[in-house]
Symmetry: C2
Amino acid sequence: MRDVLPAEVELRDQATATILEVYRRYGFRRVETPALESIRLLARSESGENEKLIFRVLKRGERLDLASARGLDDLVDLGLRFDLTVPLARYYAHNHGDLPQPLKAVQIGPVWRAERPQKGRFRQFTQCDIDILGVASPVAEVELILATLDALLALGIERPRLRLNDRRLLAALARRCGFPEAAHGSVFIALDKLDKIGLDAVCAEIRQVGHDPAAVDRLAALLAELTAAPASLEKAAAALASELPAAVVEGLASILSTVTGEAAGRYEAVFDPALVRGMGYYTGPIFEVAHGDYGVSIAGGGRYDRMIGNLLGRDVPACGFSIGFERIVDILGRRPEAGGARRKRVAFVFDESADPRQIVAEAGRLRATGDIVSLEVRRRNFRQQLADLARWGYDWYVVFPVEGGGSPQPRPIEARTDG
Amino acid sequence: MRDVLPAEVELRDQATATILEVYRRYGFRRVETPALESIRLLARSESGENEKLIFRVLKRGERLDLASARGLDDLVDLGLRFDLTVPLARYYAHNHGDLPQPLKAVQIGPVWRAERPQKGRFRQFTQCDIDILGVASPVAEVELILATLDALLALGIERPRLRLNDRRLLAALARRCGFPEAAHGSVFIALDKLDKIGLDAVCAEIRQVGHDPAAVDRLAALLAELTAAPASLEKAAAALASELPAAVVEGLASILSTVTGEAAGRYEAVFDPALVRGMGYYTGPIFEVAHGDYGVSIAGGGRYDRMIGNLLGRDVPACGFSIGFERIVDILGRRPEAGGARRKRVAFVFDESADPRQIVAEAGRLRATGDIVSLEVRRRNFRQQLADLARWGYDWYVVFPVEGGGSPQPRPIEARTDG
């Protein structure tokens, strides 16, 4: 975990405001769930690796009985959420009578994972998700994708590149090559690395698991054919026709053509028969966004029609798209600060002989126009103080008492070029 | 803990944005600390009752050894923060080399207390603090007070009423009556209830503790004199002259006259010699804001010049003001929704025969103007669907495909008056 310094907080706040403004125009409404959830909910959520990374919270008061505890279950009742999807499913199950139907939810907030900290990854980080609960039509995917691409463009992320696939198409591909249902998981885990390690290494990995070599050979040939440029949904649909329901292809085609129709050169949207996405809970279309040569995806999502059923007792169609907020902040933070309509930042520097009522009244007048004004006690080394003020973003100053009396005129602070 | 439904999230988001905008104009910058802090920091922070209310987090991996643990200390290394002041002191001690000097910080975020939930209180709630670290001059108090009153006014809280006192004046009062230093704590705890139980009951409580009855009688007489309308700093200063340093009075007088000079009928600011404030760490001026007949204060703060020294090894003058964010949301949430410049919310209702590309293109046009547009699959019971849309805040709708083709014209949804 880490502290966030003021300049980065401002960048994060701006990014949050930009994203929320776009999502609101699409009719998404922000919901908030508590940071702590029942440990039972978190541990039974079938979220794979994440469940090992839960920060567990001790019971309190009389309910905590250290002496007679036989294991963790007796000591712990709560955990910090590790994502926003499991809490959203619980939230929907608890509150659906008080929520719009369908629910178009946006969530932005911290999650916690007890990972070994690595470069650029922290144990507390922000996730930013939109989800549509209660819509089976592909219009849900279209809204999620267009809203996310619009948000990325509004953030200044140029030409985001969307890849689209469907879990049912991947399953058809695996079946077609002769992999039994039980093998699909390990095949997809290997296939997920195609971008990084290439087709040969992927196939080697699948062979190593012990799957039928003939099936692996068929997979290699079919993937080579389907991913050869230009990859197209029509080609994949034709090759997998016997395994793939027509409705799956129609849904994908509708999403792709609608999203492409809005692109106008601002973004790309392509079908990618090898896109996997890691999470096991996806049931339909899946999608991911890349940006330039940034090595990892900056957004990802898909349809998960069965997760809410586990909590609510009846299935609710659901679909979500998550922006990698920390990655976006990383990308934006490397850019030179945008000039544009920056506000005037004025330091009112005063000593004890100044009349505080005059200073405060003048500050009030400037603040009313939207300027930033800070009152600063004059230091002995005034030159150094001006240099420090420049360093912290002040570009104007006024000295009180005003020389010769009268109305104060802000003067520019010459920014020193340190180092 | 609790879920927050969309309408309340929007109210909270608006309140947050309003507060931050005002504080920014005063030169405060937002900082963020992690939710989890070291349990040692939290437990040694001299924060009284709050330390008993910490959510404790279990160690992880190999470091968690249940079998050989002899007590909580062996099991726990982290805790959820219970306020924003202790983390800010830690943040300043860790990062002061990278922070503006003085630091004008605004924090807004969740804190956690393992309290027995009561009406209107939750175990996760939001605090909203501004603090100035590194300024000994009363200009810090003036900035904090004016910024907070401006923020409350911007939120629509009419005529907030500020009360101002000083811990050193309270100490002088107690000394003057003959209470030894060691008795001050229990005297102040009783005095803190003056508003609620009256002077007689306060004095009875102090007598019951076992303090010198003659001192209690002197306190009763002196308090009656000093709080008799009109209470004035001058009267108190004259009565306590022998016990009270002149600088304390001058500081209070300067704060009061500067703050009063800006009031212009928008707020009240008065000296209150009986104001105590609960926290033990205050060292100088203290202040609190009341609103109308709302029974509890809506903001409070004061100077705490010694807290950072405990962490940093050298004292840093510090002063803070906290808005009771949950109370503000409570007050604002009871008001009828303000009309004003609400955005158009348009539902695009469509069936399978509609062209999704046309719908999406039309939606994009409206969204570009700032309108909110949501695509909604047409339900069988269309009349009920319109009623539901009205319930969730939509006031216009368009049906696709558009009858007779051509450009769609939004029609108003007649809001049903349910119940």
